[in-house]
């Protein structure tokens, strides 16, 4: 394009020289022309670029205008969420895997429903709509609703989810300002059964067209990410058995009422794998309508509180099992060795007493079966604090359980600040250390299963490698024999625990509850626990039942010990659950004659 023009037009200069004119003038003129030409090119170019600039700005203003129009005419959404999702459209994934029990029975599933919201500006007849809605939803107040539907708001949530019948009734109102938003809701078809295991779910991010379901407690919260994984197809299979869980809850509820207890907890655990077959905590709740956390009262008595995992208690004499087992394991004593049990035992200004005076000398076996604090404390003195602490640690009693519910880390055992001699002695019979009932179940499983460590789990295990060895087979066998004696012998504390055919063995524990104000114990409020296993010759299941503040009132004065409260309840639990667990009763010779084939 550019035409090359010589800087000094030689022909013209030569001609000018010949004519005697000034060649510089020609050169300057030439330069001026070149410059003007360049300026014109530039001007052409800038004209084009100015046009481009103008178009850019028009486009920019147009874009802003369009965006404004889109916003202004857009569908009114819930204000808060609308603001949060406007920038980039957030897709709400609401797939959530089912949860089943160990046999594949559904414990939690999803249900397609609708949320109800209103665009008040589209409401035709606010009075009729408010009255109609109040009829359909009795908890809504017609006048309040009328005021809200008449307000300046552009958006109102009315219900989180509707039943199909309610949905049809809202349709029948024929009000164009009422809208439905599709929802998946989490449904627990068994209601309250296994409430604390499952926990519950709530809505996370919500928009009108979808809402995300998130787990808020229990296993729903612990496996929230895994359950929400859109690639996941298989349901989450728990170790819980729905039938056993239901039976345990029924019996426990009845037992709690009968024993006038304020709260109760129970665990049934496989003694070898640590699989939890049932885990109940009363009072409970319906995970379909999870209550709000209470603002007053004792949080440990709230229905939401999972006593078996989250609650840590001084469990009392059930800890004697560990002390005696360690004494055997260390070879310090044999069951028939006789020790001094004269009391009360004085230790740094603290008196250790027995429930009753059992005489100045008893065998170790008697100490265990009769549950002598003095005898156990003497044995603990021989063991020493450091070894005791190490042993309890290997049983898993000093750290939170690893069980798969959100609340597990909250169940952190409370240990003495200084593990001195006095602490060693009190811990030997279960005072001065607080653990959860689930801790206890796992530790008992370890003691009775032949001595290998058990980790509690809520997931179905198909194969489990035995854990590390904590006590020897021999010690385990000795402990099983002693625990059977607690139930079967005349001097045992748990004679109500006998269930014909199932050879129940165990250990009772009655612990005074610490004063809520602190610094002492209640005289008449206690926590009774029965830690049992069955069948005792080759234990398959560990059962823990604990009642808070029970009082058995059939006698002259209320009886509060475990033998009168927790033990009979546990026996009933075993009676109901053992057949469901597939444990065959072993029938003693001579009993067969008295069985009839139609017995129920």
């Amino acid at each position: 394009m550019t035409q090359r023009v010589p800087l000094r037009p030689l022909t013209r200069i030569l001609k000018a020289r010949a004519e005697g004119a000034d060649p510089d003038l020609i050169e300057r003129e030439n330069l001026r022309l070149r410059h003007e030409a360049a300026r014109d090119t530039l001007r052409q170019r800038s004209e084009g670029r100015l046009l481009l600039l103008a178009l850019c700005f028009l486009l920019a203003f147009g874009a802003v205008g369009t965006q404004m129009a889109a916003l202004a005419t857009g569908e009114a959404d819930e204000p808060v969420r609308a603001a949060s999702t406007a920038g980039a459209e957030v897709t709400i994934l609401n797939t959530r895997a089912d949860i089943t029990d160990r046999a594949g029975r559904v414990l939690a599933t999803n249900f397609a429903t609708n949320a109800l919201y209103a665009h008040p500006h589209e409401i035709v007849d606010a009075r009729a709509a408010a009255d109609g809605l109040a009829r359909i939803f009795p908890d809504l107040d017609a006048d309040t609703l009328y005021a809200r539907l008449n307000s300046e708001a552009r958006f109102l949530w009315l219900r989180r989810y509707l039943s199909p019948e309610q949905e049809q009734m809202v349709h029948d109102l024929g009000e164009p300002g009422l809208h439905f938003g599709p929802r998946e809701m989490r449904l627990y078809p068994n209601g309250r059964v296994a409430a604390h295991v499952l926990g519950g779910a709530g809505f996370g991010q919500e928009a009108t067209n979808a809402a995300e379901v998130i787990g808020v407690a229990g296993i729903e919260a612990a496996f929230d990410t895994a359950l929400r994984d859109p690639d996941r197809r298989a349901p989450l299979q728990l170790s819980v058995d729905l039938t056993v869980q239901d039976a345990v809850e029924q019996v426990l509820e009845g037992g709690m009422r009968l024993m006038n207890a304020r709260a109760a907890g129970a665990v049934i655990m496989d003694a070898h794998t640590g699989e939890v077959y049932a885990m109940a905590s009363l009072p409970d709740f319906d995970p379909n309508a999870r209550p709000r956390p209470p603002v007053d009262g004792d949080p440990a008595l709230s229905p939401l509180f999972n006593r078996t995992v989250q609650g840590v208690y001084e469990l009392g004499s059930v800890f004697k099992t560990f002390t005696i087992a360690q004494a055997f394991e260390l070879g310090l004593y044999n069951p028939d060795d006789v020790i001094d049990t004269s009391g009360p035992l004085q230790m740094s200004g603290f008196l250790i007493r027995d429930f009753r005076d059992y005489g100045p000398r008893q065998s170790v076996a008697e100490v265990f079966v009769r549950s002598s604090n003095i005898g156990t404390a003497r044995i603990a003195q021989a063991i020493g604090g450091e070894r005791q602490r190490d042993f309890l640690d290997r049983l898993g009693l000093l750290a939170p359980t690893q069980v798969e519910v959100m609340e597990a880390p909250l169940g952190r055992p409370l240990l003495p600040e200084r593990w001195g001699e006095l602490s060693t002695m009190t811990i030997s019979y279960g005072h001065g250390i607080s653990t959860s009932p689930l801790h206890l179940a796992a530790a008992y499983a370890t003691i009775v299963n032949g001595g290998t460590r058990v980790q509690p789990t809520l997931l179905r295990q198909d194969s489990v490698t035995p854990g590390e060895r904590v006590i020897s087979e021999t010690t385990s066998a000795r402990m099983r024999a002693l625990m059977r004696d607690v139930v079967a012998s005349d001097i045992g504390t748990a004679s109500f625990g006998e269930v014909p055919g199932y050879a129940v063995g165990g250990k009772t524990g009655t612990a005074d509850l610490p004063l809520t104000a602190g610094g002492g114990y209640y005289e008449d409020r206690n926590l009774t626990t029965f830690a049992a296993a069955f069948p005792m010759d080759a234990p398959r299941f560990v059962v823990i039942v604990s009642l808070q503040e029970p009082a058995e009132t059939s006698g002259q004065e209320p009886r509060r010990t475990a033998g009168w409260t927790a033990v009979p309840v546990a026996a009933e639990v075993i009676r109901r659950a053992a057949p469901l667990l597939g444990v065959r009763p072993s029938i003693a010779p001579g009993v067969t004659d008295r069985l009839s084939s139609t017995s129920n």
Binding site: L31, R32, H35, E36, A38, R39, D40, T41, L42, R43, Q44, R45, S46, E47, R49, L50, L51, L53, A54, F57, L58, A60, F61, G62, A63, V64, G65, Q67, M68, A69, L71, A72, T73, G74, A76, P79, V80, R81, A82, A83, S84, T85, A86, G87, A88, V90, E152, R154
Partner: protein, 388 residues
């Protein structure tokens, strides 16, 4: 006599200043600006009483101040628009050196009014933000330099103005005021673009600006926070942005009605940066569309008039000022609808603010002066230019 050159107005020598001004100035743009100012006052009645209430002043305190400063700004604008481009250039370049000195001395004499950035001089009765006044005079200076470089034997204006830009951007980044710094860079790039810069150089410069942005993001928390805030999809529902968006949504097509808006009670910057949200809520999309149309009209008319301009300085200076004006309006509007990251920028003539009004008045006065119709060379020049 017949008009020979298209689009020119014959200037009769000896004609009085005012009639000549009236015949040559862009009267439509003046009309648009007056309309914007009127809308600003109208919205001030809606948006500022809550603020006045909070600060314990009479309810229309800010409206009165706005009317006062606005009137002053309009007078300044009209006076400036009557000046000749040469006078403007001389005053502008002088003003430029004074403003640069003021900006440079900010770290010594300025205050931050507790807002974390030293941007203001406290004059007792009012706060003066020198960087507000820097932009128009910077454009005049740069346009002068670049235009001069196109003259025979002119100075190396492009290099000089680029260096000056770099130094000023450094000053502003120290305050820190990345917004103003970005505007200066933008203004210089527009000038360079319109002055016919080769495309390769433009791309290289834009790359450098991008790299600078990345550097600032990595090294300045202030800057990084703004960008992060924009990039996250989630807006916390209690931020100004969320309220503004909600207000626009609530307004719908024709608004919630006079005084019915609620955003002015919740947004601390309702009278300045988010005035458009108040407009949208109380008067609806209708008024917002009018405001956008007014700005678009001023911008397009200005650019088309400048396209006919032959004088490189006038063309460049006019383009730079007009681009800044339009860009400021665009940014303010775009932030409210979340098309751009949050940046405190006022809506010219509509938002409340003394410094902002005055500096906008000066800048728009210059634009009007530069876009006045004037003879564009002789017929020969014209025919050659058209014939190619």
């Amino acid at each position: 006599m017949t008009e020979l050159a298209h689009g020119t107005v014959i200037v009769q020598s000896g004609e009085a200043v005012l009639p000549r001004w009236w015949r040559s100035v862009d009267r439509v743009s003046i009309g648009c600006i007056l309309a914007l100012f009127g809308i600003g006052i109208l919205l001030g009645f809606a948006s500022s009483p809550p603020l006045a209430e909070r600060t314990g002043l009479p309810p229309f305190h800010y409206v009165i101040r706005q009317a006062f400063y606005g009137g002053l700004a309009l007078v300044v604008m009209l006076v400036v628009s009557m000046l000749s481009p040469l006078t403007i250039r001389r005053l502008g370049v002088t003003g430029f050196f004074i403003t640069v000195a003021a900006v440079a001395l900010l770290p010594v004499f300025g205050t931050d009014f507790g807002q974390g950035a030293v941007r203001w001089y406290s004059l007792g009765f009012a706060a003066l933000q020198p960087s507000e006044f820097l932009k128009p005079v910077f454009v005049v200076f740069s346009a002068w330099m670049i235009a001069a470089s196109q003259e025979l034997g002119g100075p190396p204006g492009k290099t000089v103005s680029l260096l000056v830009t770099g130094i000023l951007v450094g000053f502003l980044a120290m305050q820190p005021d990345f917004g103003q710094a970005a505007l200066l860079i933008f203004a210089w790039l527009v000038l360079y673009f319109v002055a016919g810069a080769p495309m390769a150089a433009l791309f290289a410069l834009m790359g450098a600006v991008g790299a600078g942005g990345v550097y600032a993001y990595n090294n300045s928390e202030h800057f990084a926070r703004r960008i992060d805030g924009f990039l996250t999809a989630e807006v916390s529902p209690n931020t100004q942005l969320a309220f503004a968006e909600e207000a626009i949504r609530n307004g719908g097509l024709f608004g919630a009605g006079l005084g019915e808006g609620s955003v002015k009670w919740t947004l601390p910057d309702a009278h300045t940066d988010f005035i458009i949200a108040v407009a949208a809520e109380e008067y609806g999309l209708a008024l917002v569309a009018v405001i956008i149309a007014l700005f678009a009209a001023i911008a397009t008319r200005g650019f088309f008039r400048l396209m006919r301009e032959r004088d490189p300085f006038i063309r460049l200076a006019g383009t730079g000022l007009l681009s800044l004006f339009a860009l400021q309006a665009f940014i303010n509007l775009a932030v409210a609808v979340r098309m751009l990251p949050a940046k405190g920028m006022t809506l010219p003539f509509v938002s409340y603010g003394g410094s902002s009004l005055l500096s906008t008045g000066i800048a728009v006065g210059m634009i009007l002066a530069f876009t006045r119709t004037r003879p564009q060379g002789d017929i020969r020049d014209h025919l050659i230019a058209q014939g190619r």
